[in-house]
Every structure is written in C-alpha cells, then in structure tokens.
C-alpha cells in the first residue's frame, strides 16, 4: 500500500502493482548496475543533504552555543537562550495568528472548489488559488508593508477604539499599521494556497457513496458536507494545517518587510511594540553580522530548523497514517 495521499491515484485507477524488479542485476549488463547505482546514489544524497543541513548549522552555530555568556554579551547579542526566546515567541505567535485567519478561509475555499463550484469551473478556480502560491514572497512583503499596512490602519484604529477591552486589541494603536497582525495577514495569504490544495485533495477523496447516502436521506448540501465530507477529511485537514504551520513558521520576508519588531513578548496585536520572528531577525541582521554574531544567528536558524522539522514530521506522520487507513475504503 502506498504511503502518500497523492499516491492513491494509481490505486484508484485500478493499476496493478508493477512486477518486482529482477532480484540481482545481470553481471553482463554493466549499464544496469551503473544506472541503478546512480539512482540509489541520488536518493541517498538527499538523505545526506538533509543531515548536512543540520550538521553544518550545528558546526557553524556551536561557537555561540558554547560561548561564555559574558563573551556573548560583549561580542554577540547576549546570552543565547535569553536572546532567542522572544524570537521563538514571535515566530510561533505570528504563525498562530496567521493560521487562525487562514484555516477557516482555506477550508471554505477547498469546499467551494470541491463541492460547491460548478464542476467545469473547479479546475480553473483551483489554478487561480494556486496563483497565490506563485507570487514570490518578496512581492508579498512589499505589498504588505506598502499597501496592506496603510489599508488596514483605519480598521486597527476602529478595533482598538471599540474592542479595546479585549486584551488582544488593547494598547496604543500603531499609526503606520505595520503591526504583527498585518504581518500575520500577509502570512495567512501565503499559507492559504498550501492548506487549500491539501484540503481540496482530501475532500475530493470522500467516498462518493457516503455523500450520496447523506443526500438520499434528504440532507441539504451543508448537512452532507458536515456528515460525510468533514469527518472523513479530519485527519487530512489536521495534516494540512500542520504543513501550513510549518510554512508560516519559516516564512521570512512577510515578517521582515512588514515589521520592525523587537524583543517584546506581548499578545497585543495592534501596537507598534511587536515581537520579531527568528527568520526575520536573521534576515534583518545577517548582512551586517560578523564573528560571534553570525554564529548566534546561525544557531537561531538551527532552532527554527528544529521547530519546523518537528512540525513537518508530525504532519507527514499524520498524512501517512491516514493514507494507510483510507486505503481500505
């Protein structure tokens, strides 16, 4: 049985599993051995690259991790854990805000494409959403800081004035609109197509019989979606959200260009005192950094790598488990 969602296409099309390859390459055919060797080598190279990413970050970041806190205070940015924690908070907080906005919209879009739009329009509409994924992140950053920030500033003022009693919207509202909420909106836009396309794929895999059974019992379309589609797709949705989270955590340019964040740990989303994300902190400081500071930024990158690695591995694990289960359907 295949492990990936997308692999199920060949099961669905009723294709037989390929015949097992010959057990041992014929010694008279060196081409076979060489070609196979290249293919296996390429596969192993990928595993090696992934290991190398972790290894080289560790090697180059270790001076900062091992350095004396006093030395870090004079030649670096300060004691490592104490320095990096606010940025970890900023990274997670921005990603959570982005997902809170993106997930409902993404599920809605996916449902629209898979179950609501006329069937002939479904594919073009899917392409349109994919176009969002094609826009380079730097363009989104430019748009977020120059267009969106000024556009949402009046809304922020209104939120602050009328809903300021909610801690989230309290505090002194920013005059430029360049707050973590703006950055989160840009992030949400960027992760939207990823979550949408995964959810769409899962929604389309809902067994037709379940849907038809619900409709035959007199369910409205929304009841059918609630009873047949969403329960079936729940693990897929969770995986899609996790993958979106992984992307939002690591996305650099949106936060870098929209925010001039500091080391604030605050849940207020409308003020000009914003937390910064790890990725943005690296991008903003790396060009000027040297020596121990460079090591410290690389070590921060390692922290980011480990966080996203964990999130992605959990997501992929959910997908794999779900695919194995749904194969029985």
């Amino acid at each position: 049985m295949s492990q990936k969602l997308t692999r199920e296409s060949d099961v669905a099309s009723g294709q037989p599993e390929p015949t097992p390859p010959p057990a041992r390459p014929d010694p008279k055919r060196p081409g076979e051995t060489i070609f196979r060797g290249f293919a296996v080598g390429a596969g192993i190279a990928i595993l090696a690259i992934l290991a190398a990413v972790a290894a080289f970050l560790l090697i180059q970041g270790s001076p900062a991790l091992l350095a004396d806190p006093a030395e870090l205070a004079t030649h670096g940015y300060g004691e490592f854990v104490e320095w990096v924690l606010p940025y970890v908070f900023g990274t997670v907080w921005a990603a959570v805000l982005a997902l809170a906005m993106a997930v409902p919209v993404a599920i809605g879009i996916a449902l629209f494409i898979s179950h609501y739009a006329p069937r002939r329009l479904a594919q073009p509409l899917g392409y349109i959403i994919d176009l969002l994924a094609a826009v380079p992140s730097v363009v989104f950053g430019l748009w977020g800081s120059n267009v969106l920030a000024t556009g949402v500033q009046p809304l922020f003022t209104w939120l602050n004035a009328n809903l300021g009693f909610i801690p989230l919207f309290s505090g002194q509202v920013s005059g430029t609109g360049r707050t973590i909420l703006t950055a989160a909106i840009v992030l949400a836009t960027m992760v939207l197509p990823i979550i949408t396309s995964l959810c769409r794929e899962v929604f389309l895999q809902t067994p037709k019989l379940h849907e038809e059974a619900a409709l035959a019992l007199g369910a409205t379309r929304w009841e059918m979606v609630k009873m047949a589609v969403l329960p079936f797709a729940r693990p897929g949705i969770i995986a899609a959200v996790m993958l979106g989270l992984g992307r939002a955590l690591g996305e650099t340019m949106a936060v870098t260009m929209v925010l001039s964040g500091g080391r604030n740990i605050t849940f207020q989303v409308l003020t000009s005192e914003n937390p910064n994300s790890i990725a943005a902190q690296i991008a903003q400081n790396f060009p000027e950094a040297f020596g121990l500071k460079t090591s410290q930024l690389i070590a921060a990158g390692l922290v980011l790598f480990l966080i996203t690695l964990a999130v992605n591995m959990i997501a992929r694990w959910i997908v794999a488990r779900r695919a194995a289960y749904s194969g029985a359907n």
């Binding site: 596969g43 192993i44 690591g250 870098t256």
Partner: protein, 354 residues
Amino acid sequence: MTTLSQTLASDALTSGRLPRFTAPVAVVASILVGVAIAILAADGNLAVAALFGFALYLVVMEVAARVVEGARQASDRRASTLISGAFILALLPLGSVAWEAISKGIARFDLNFFTMSMRNVVGAGGGAAHAIYGTLYVTGLASLMSIPVGLLTAIYLSEYGRGTRLARSITFFVDVMTGIPSIVAGLFAYALMGLLIGPGFKSGFSGSIALSVLMIPVVVRSSEEILRLVPNELREASYALGVPKWLTIVRIVIPTAISGLISGIILSIARVIGETAPLLIAAGFTASLNNNPFDNPMMTLPVFVYDSYARPGIDVQAYLDRAWAGALTLILIVMLLNLIGRLIARRFAPKTGR
C-alpha cells in the same frame, strides 16, 4: 444520524422554497445598501461597503430562508454564502497584489531597467540588469544541480525502490525537506561555504546551493508522481522483448512521461526563482554586474527588490519605484514559467491507458 431523522420529521420536507430570483436580488440590494452606507458613513470606502453588503446579505437571506424554508435550509444557505465568500476573500489579495505591482511597477518598467545596473547610481535612474543576470546564473546553476539528483531519485523511488525501507524513508524525508524554511537553506549554504572556503564567503554558487536544497524535493515529488502514471503494460512489453530495465526506463518510461517531467521541472524553477531569504544570506548584495558565480557577492532580482525597499538611499521614491518594477518583473517571470509549465503538461499529456 439521529439528528437527521429528527430534523426530517420536522418542517424540512414540507416547507416552501424561496423563489429563484431571491438570492440575486438580495445580492444586488445588499451591495447597493453597502455602498450607500459606505458613502454616508465612511467616505466611500470600498472595504466598508463590501463588509456591510456581505453582512446584510447574510442577515437578509437568513431571515427570509428561516421564515419560508425552515432552519435547515437557512443554515444550508448560510454555509453556501460563507463558503463562496471565503473564495472571494482569497481573490482580494491576489487582485490587489497584481494591481499594485502593475500600477506602481510600470513607472520604471522601461528599457533602462533591463539594461543598466546600479553601479554608481544614486537616486533616480539605474536598473536591475545585474540582478536579472544574477537570477539567471543562480537559478540556472541550481537547476543544473537539482534536476539530475531530483530526477534520479524519482526514478529510484518509482522504478527500483518501491516498498523498500530506503525508499520509504527517502519519501518521508523528501516530504519533510519541502518544509525546510528557505532562510535555513540559505544559512546552510553559507555555513557550508564558510567551512570549505572561509568565513563570510558569499557567491552566486552558494546561492544556488541554497536554492537546490529547496528545489530538489519539489522536483522529486512532481517527477515521481508523473513516473507512476506511466502504464505498467509499457514496461512489461519492453521487458518481454528482452530490454534491460535501465534501458526500459531511459527509452520507454521517460519518453512517455517527458511532458509531465518537463512541466514539473519548470514549475519547480518557478517555485525557487522568487526566493529571497536564502539568497540574501548566501549570495549577498552588490550594485554591479558580476559574471562570475563562483566568487564575490551576486545580486539577484528578489534581493534587489528587498534591498531597494529596505535600504533606500536619498530620493526614496526612486528606490521604491525600482523595487516595484523588480516585483512586477518577478511576477511576470513566475507567471510565465507557470503558464509554460501548465501548457506543456496539458498539451502533451502522457499517453496513458491504451
């Protein structure tokens, strides 16, 4: 299922239906009222108009449907409205980005922009030729490294390693690798070059290493999917004629799938050509044309956009104009690549199932 039978017993099947023209009329009316409110209360702000119009439509249809059709139909209509609304909501940033990029980018989208570098340019004038060359070098080198590795891995996964433990772990880690933050890829390339050559070394080649880390998994995933679509009968027919496996792959499987492979590769190039953060770290900045990707920093188009925006000199507007022109160029390149990729995929779709 209990909820269903309970609700079925109530009014649902016997209640009336709203006339078909209700929804379109309600849409138009809500938009008009929304615009009116916006003009009266918020200086004709379109966002306010849209928000009020949408809320009004929701309320009106909810009430009308609840009275005439019953609660179940009302919630069905509400869900349809919200779901369609989500789709329209997603079009807003797309439309806004496209509009702003075109209207603001067109100011400097001229011949100079594509023929001049930023060498000795302060304020207005200059162009992004050095960045465009850099992007071509860096992306080209990244493709040279990623495509063979990616393709061969896909061949291993789909032709040789099906179901083996190695193939399973490669698939898993390729998927994990698609989630590597781009800036981490840049740090990796920087750290690698720092160890191999010396600290602080930045070059176009480092940038392409970073891009390769991001590009390889995309190539593997798309190629593997396409290779799996090749009908097994073709392979078996080839084996039956005594053709060795590797020749079957080279002469039968790949030619059958070639359009899908090429389209996947083009899409993966489109995916990395707009990457900023890794190039910012690994390839660095420069104002001059650098034709040697193996030494000295090399400017690339995304970094050019970022740099013009983040550190403008005197006459900020000139730098901002260049940034938008660069953004427009980038969007056009990426859209063009996407279009070509999709056209190839559709025009020469794999000849399956015959």
